[in-house]
């Protein structure tokens, strides 16, 4: 056995737990050994000529994309470009008009939804829970795809729920109702639910929207942690700078089409920013990470879309 994964729900608890509670955990990645090994299980996700829409409108048109395994993929683009729609399509929330989503090479539409739920977890935007639900109860729902009528609970379920609590540093808040938490804590609780789902794929729709800077970093660090444990992560994110800083792979969309795809440092250029957002800017490299930084933005968009 190698060093236990910090966030891996199958690994035994590590030694002394770091003090938790506050949000001063931005550096938690630095003191955790990162074994660069393959995850215990993995799944592939790709779309083929995927067409999605609501009502009369086609939003995503014949889109083919392959999601890199065990990496963070960020889908970026202006409002209404179809990025959330694409995510909903890949998570089988929205049925395709045409084309397919392939999970491990199989058409997701033809798979039992419970089986999909064991491979792919989704955190939608503005997730709301029933009144009064506690953090621990929410996380227990993550075990739903594994529970049956005859086998409603198992020691493994209990262990995984505890591991998810530990991984997201929510142990002290386990019994608190979700609606009594701060925005960042609540988002961590939702992510903990998807961690308990124990899936190789995790899809997040704007996980940091409506969070202040501190909470944004907290959630993004957690996502990076999960990716280092081998999860394939796909997130829709508004903030291009965060996307560049945390993602390994960028998918830039506009009007339902992919206009650029690849490594953030290579893909994000001044031309791309102008194409995506109608903003002329200067790009600088962030010291340390080399992620592109946008400065001196000027709107050049006169037409409305």
């Amino acid at each position: 056995m190698t060093t236990p994964h910090a966030l891996c729900v199958r690994c035994p608890p590590r030694g002394p737990q770091p003090p938790s509670g506050g949000r001063a955990k931005a550096d938690m990645t630095h003191n955790i050994p990162m074994p660069a090994q393959a995850p215990a299980k993995s799944s592939t996700l790709q779309t083929r000529e995927l067409t999605l829409g609501y009502g009369e409108r086609t939003i995503v048109d014949r889109l083919t994309v392959q999601i890199p395994e065990a990496r963070i993929t960020a889908i970026v683009g202006p409002n209404g470009c179809g990025k959330s729609t694409l995510l909903a399509g890949m998570a089988r929330i929205l049925s395709p008009r045409a084309g397919t989503v392939l999970l491990d090479g199989r058409d997701i539409a033809g798979m039992p939804t419970r089986e999909v739920a064991r491979k792919l977890a989704l955190l939608p935007q503005d997730a709301t829970a029933p009144d009064g639900l506690t953090v621990e109860e929410l996380i227990q729902f993550g075990r739903q795809p594994y529970r049956g009528l005859m086998r409603q609970w198992s020691p493994q379920d209990a262990a995984i729920v505890r591991a998810a609590l530990r991984a997201t540093q929510l142990e002290p808040l386990a019994e608190r109702p979700l609606d009594s938490l701060s925005g960042g804590q609540r988002q961590r609780a939702w992510i903990a639910m998807t961690v308990a789902q124990d899936t190789p794929l995790l899809l997040l729709d704007e996980p940091t929207s409506a969070l202040d800077l501190g909470h944004q970093i907290e959630v993004l660090e957690l996502i990076r942690e999960l990716s280092r444990q081998g999860k394939t992560i796909i997130m829709v994110i508004h903030d291009l700078a965060s996307a560049c800083r945390y993602a390994d792979h960028i998918i830039a969309m506009r009007d339902g089409e992919i206009i650029a795809e690849g490594d953030p440092a290579g893909v994000v250029t001044e031309e791309l920013v102008e194409k995506l957002y109608g903003v002329r800017c200067t790009l600088l490299r962030e010291p340390g990470t080399g992620a592109p930084l946008i400065v001196n933005p000027v709107s050049i968009r006169h037409d409305t879309d």
Binding site: L120, T128, P130, E137, P145, P172
Partner: protein
């Protein structure tokens, strides 16, 4: 109470018992189980009181139930009171379950069969069979057709139930429509037929036909286990659609299954007791109040509904004796304020 409490390897979630009969692993919500026991005890107490009220002493009642006693007492119990009690228990349970299911489906506590118009649909069809279009079909059959029509209209026009608010508004309109049709038919018909149809419009447990009650019993025997089995998916319906699907729920199938079960239990209950709509609104509230807001209390809603129904019937039969007040009137008079009290006193979600 702290999260650092040592936990054994196979501990059940907080607040649950983990039972392992014959290789199964079942979770039992502790507070829910206690609430069920409490409700059962209250049902027994009210049933005993109701059976022995007035002229028959308690000891004689018990003896008569065992078949010992004078013919008058035996007749009164076996022919009048026991069937009536059974009708009340079953119809109350059915209305309670129907309310609980529909509230969960629409994610709204207002969405009960009485409000969505399923009661009204059942009543309208049943009244039509008595006063307007004589048929050879039994009232439960017609009530079922009416309930199914109303439910299908509300579900179809109300956006498939995914938007609770729209479902309710459409349901209220459909209920009003069927209510108006019922009143129109009653106004146009002669007094004898109207009298015959009267119990259908207010709700009464007096002299219900045995076949109707048997139909209800059969329906409950099938629907209660189904409702309980749907429980796992029902819990997920309390989240948004995307989360429920993400956790592996077949959303559309679950919704339609719930709607069908609701239509069956509501229609057969209305065929027995008439539109006692408040039971389906109040019973799940009582169940949730006792169990503390967690989960979807299918069985406890049934118990609470049964209790409410027989309590209301007992009061209606004895309070102004010899004048009998229909059970629907009593549930409205007693249940209304109680429901208001529950809704208004609730300070914070999760505080119960």
């Amino acid at each position: 109470m702290s999260a650092t409490a040592p936990a054994s390897a196979n501990d059940a979630p907080r607040g649950y018992w983990c039972l392992r009969p014959a290789g199964l692993t079942l979770l039992v919500h502790r507070r829910g189980a206690w609430a069920g026991l409490l409700l059962t005890a209250m049902i027994l107490a009210i049933a005993t009181g109701s059976l022995s009220s007035g002229t028959i002493p308690l000891a004689e009642t018990v003896a008569a139930l065992a078949g010992i006693g004078d013919p008058v007492t035996l007749f009164m119990l076996h022919e009048l009171r026991v069937p009536r009690l059974v009708a009340g228990l079953l119809s109350g349970a059915a209305l309670g379950v129907g309310g609980c299911l529909l509230q969960t489906l629409a994610r709204n506590r207002l969405a009960t069969p009485g409000i969505i118009g399923i009661d009204d649909g059942a009543t309208a069809f049943a009244v039509a069979s008595i006063v307007a279009i004589p048929t050879s079909l039994a009232p439960p059959m017609l009530a079922l057709m009416g309930a199914a029509t109303a439910a299908a209209l509300a579900f179809g026009l109300g956006g498939g139930g995914s938007r609770g608010y729209r479902f309710i508004v459409v349901g209220i309109a459909i209920g009003a429509l069927f209510g108006a049709i019922t009143n129109f038919m009653l106004a146009r018909t002669d007094i004898d037929a109207a009298n015959l149809a009267y119990p259908w419009t207010v709700g009464s447990l007096n002299a219900r036909s045995a076949t109707t009650v048997a139909t209800l019993a059969a329906c409950l025997a099938v629907c209660l286990p189904i409702a309980k089995m749907l429980g796992r998916d029902l819990q997920l319906l309390r989240f948004s659609d995307a989360i429920a699907i993400g956790l592996g729920t077949r959303l559309r199938r679950t919704r339609i299954a719930i709607l069908i079960v609701t239509v069956f239990v509501t229609a057969t209950a209305v065929a027995v007791a008439g539109p006692v709509g408040l039971v389906s609104l109040a019973a799940p509230e009582i169940a949730r109040h006792l169990t503390g807001h967690r989960g979807v209390p299918v069985i406890n809603s049934a118990l609470a509904g049964a209790m409410l129904m027989i309590a209301a019937d007992w009061v209606g039969r004895t309070a102004f004796a010899p004048v009998e007040i229909p059970v629907g009137v009593i549930t409205a008079v007693v249940g209304g304020p109680y429901l208001l009290w529950i809704l208004l006193r609730e300070p914070r979600p999760g505080g119960g």
